[in-house]
């Protein structure tokens, strides 16, 4: 059958102008991530820290059931803001976040640049802002599942197992800290992964850069701190800055003896720089002068 013999019917619907024109980018982005090799297995692995901490909350409320495991009168697990801070700033969770953004975020923009898809996106009634929000929503989805959602579940579990609101009334700011710190992590890692993703057409190079910048920034901090014994070098490390902010937000002792807002400024500067990189790199057309 030749092409001309096939029918083409006009569509009788009406094209809608949506405020959420980024939504298809987010949903298809999440679906495509699940199609990636090994991602599904890895994805279940990412819940291990949350499950461990959830188990900790259960144990803390059912201490009498676990007396055989603990020394007499020794404090076993105390669920308090420090417990939450310990979950959100532990090295393992941050490592998992980096791995998640490698899987979900490395190809988000680099693939569009490599396969010339940007011009297709921008030939639609889509603004740059919508494109970025759509792509960042993919990161948001996966990161919220291991930061914000577990944090809220911890609070809920604590209330359910303790049978009262005493815990929340003792720390009324804790839900906001959970929400606030989760958002800081999500926003930072969204800018981090998207800006790096826009720098190369090769998803593997992007993955290496995402991993490398995160870990080498910490290694540089350790080297300089080892030589000069000055804690201001912690500002070089992404991990150290996030831990510093986390400690402040959850009302805990700061891990480094420098003002917390220096780390906050570092994160803002990093996001601003990431935004500028994105603006420069993501264009509907590549202009060859």
């Amino acid at each position: 059958m030749t092409i001309r013999e096939r029918g083409y019917a006009h569509w009788d619907g009406e094209l809608e102008e949506s405020k959420f024109s980024w939504w298809p980018i987010a949903t298809y982005g999440v679906k495509l991530t699940f199609k990636k090799k090994f991602f599904k297995s890895f994805f279940f692995f990412t819940f291990i820290p949350a499950l461990a901490y959830l188990g900790g909350i259960y144990v803390s409320e059912r201490l009498e059931d676990f007396h055989f495991m603990i020394e007499e009168s020794a404090p076993f697990i105390q669920v308090n803001p420090a417990y939450f801070k310990s979950y959100f700033t532990n090295d393992f969770l941050l490592f998992i976040i980096v791995m998640i953004i490698i899987f979900a975020g490395a190809g988000l923009i680099s693939d569009d640049i490599k396969y010339n898809a940007l011009q297709l996106y921008f030939s639609r009634p889509l603004k740059k802002k919508d494109y970025f929000i759509g792509k960042a929503s993919v990161i948001f989805f996966f990161m919220a599942l291991i930061t914000l959602i577990p944090g809220l579940i911890f609070l809920l579990t604590k209330i359910i197992f303790s049978g009262s609101f005493k815990f929340v009334l003792s720390y009324p700011w804790l839900p906001f800290s959970t929400l606030g710190y989760s958002l800081i992590l999500i926003v930072f890692f969204s800018f981090y992964s998207l800006s790096i993703s826009s720098l190369s057409k090769n998803r593997r190079y992007v993955a290496v850069m995402i991993f490398g910048i995160y870990f080498f920034s910490d290694i540089f901090f350790q080297i300089f701190y080892g030589i000069f014994k000055n804690q201001y070098f912690s500002l070089l490390s992404i991990k150290a800055n996030l831990k510093q902010i986390g400690a402040f937000i959850f009302g805990q002792k700061l891990p480094y003896s420098i003002p917390w807002f220096y780390s906050f400024l570092f994160i803002i500067a990093f996001c601003t720089f990431g935004g500028l990189v994105l603006k420069r790199r993501v264009k509907g057309v590549v202009i060859v002068k």
Partner: protein
């Protein structure tokens, strides 16, 4: 007017890509013709709002190209020249995805994706990963994504680029079908003359960022001028000089063929007379059979 631009200027740094272009296009299939670097792609990108004009104004489907880009993109389909796809998607997902991005509801976009994939001839491979598609299949897929939202106007940028003869013929058939039977206006940018000649009724010729000719192809063909292909034997220097003295433009091809452009009012017998005077034998003499080529050559200059 479907496309209307007045005094359009655009530069890439110091390089002037469009220099005071004025175009008024109505219904029908329109060919945008010009050599590489003429400003065809720049014009398409400006019409879609990818590039902001420096000076001038324009409207596409009644929407301002400077302020209403979103509306233009909602009702215009675009098929870019380059291979464009999203890895990991099959054709159905890909097509419905861009339907949704154009403003179609999810279910409608999915239904419509199947329909247009049938129409472009990808029905059997619509669930295959796009990465495994051949060049011709990718071209068809690009058409599918351009028509999924039922646009009023489709901009084709070099639609037959890189296709084998059969693929090219089928692509042109598809474009002709869209433009002639489906009430969708098309603008085809190409540097391949026969493609434009076979598919379009109206042509716009750009050269070095300037509009050099526009009009109905049939009317343009009526212009009185002539292109002759001549093969000679003998010393050609004086023969060529004599032709140029009579205001003829002469181009020599790689295989030794002379293309002689005669201005209006000249008689082709003059060529034979000059040859006789210069003691040259004419071994081959043919009036060009591709009129659009003449128009194009005259418009952009043979040099």
């Amino acid at each position: 007017m479907t496309i209307e631009v007045n005094n359009l200027h655009f530069s890439y740094g110091k390089l002037k890509a469009l220099d005071g272009v004025n175009i008024n296009l109505n219904q029908g299939s329109i060919g945008l013709l010009g050599p590489n670097g003429a400003g065809k792609s720049t014009l398409i990108r400006i019409l879609l709002g990818f590039l902001q004009v420096e000076k001038g104004e324009g409207k596409v489907l009644g929407y301002d190209i400077r302020t209403q880009q979103s509306d233009i993109r909602r009702f215009v389909g675009y098929m870019p020249e380059d291979d464009c796809f999203i890895p990991g998607m099959d054709a159905v997902c890909f097509t419905s995805y861009f339907g949704e991005l154009s403003g179609m509801p999810h279910e409608e976009a999915m239904k419509r994706a199947h329909e247009v994939l049938f129409y472009v001839g990808l029905e059997e491979s619509r669930y295959r990963q796009i990465e495994t598609y051949s060049r011709g299949m990718k071209q068809r897929l690009k058409i599918a994504q351009a028509i999924v939202h039922d646009p009023k106007l489709i901009l084709f940028d070099e639609p037959t680029s890189g296709l084998d003869p059969r693929g090219r013929r089928e692509m042109l058939e598809l474009i002709m079908d869209i433009s002639s039977k489906k009430n969708i206006q098309v603008l085809i940018s190409s540097h391949i003359l026969p493609d434009i000649e076979n598919t379009c009724s109206y042509v716009v010729i750009l050269n070095k960022g300037k509009l050099v000719a526009q009009g109905d192809i049939k009317e343009l063909k009526q212009i009185k001028y002539s292109l002759y292909e001549v093969k000679i034997k003998g010393e050609s220097r004086n023969f060529l000089r004599s032709l140029r003295e009579r205001q003829c433009k002469v181009e020599k091809t790689e295989d030794g063929l002379l293309k002689i452009y005669m201005p209006p009012g000249h008689n082709p017998q003059d060529i034979f007379m000059i040859a006789a005077n210069e003691k040259i034998q004419i071994r081959h003499f043919l009036k060009s059979q591709t009129p659009l080529e003449d128009i194009f050559a005259r418009a952009v200059g043979v040099d």
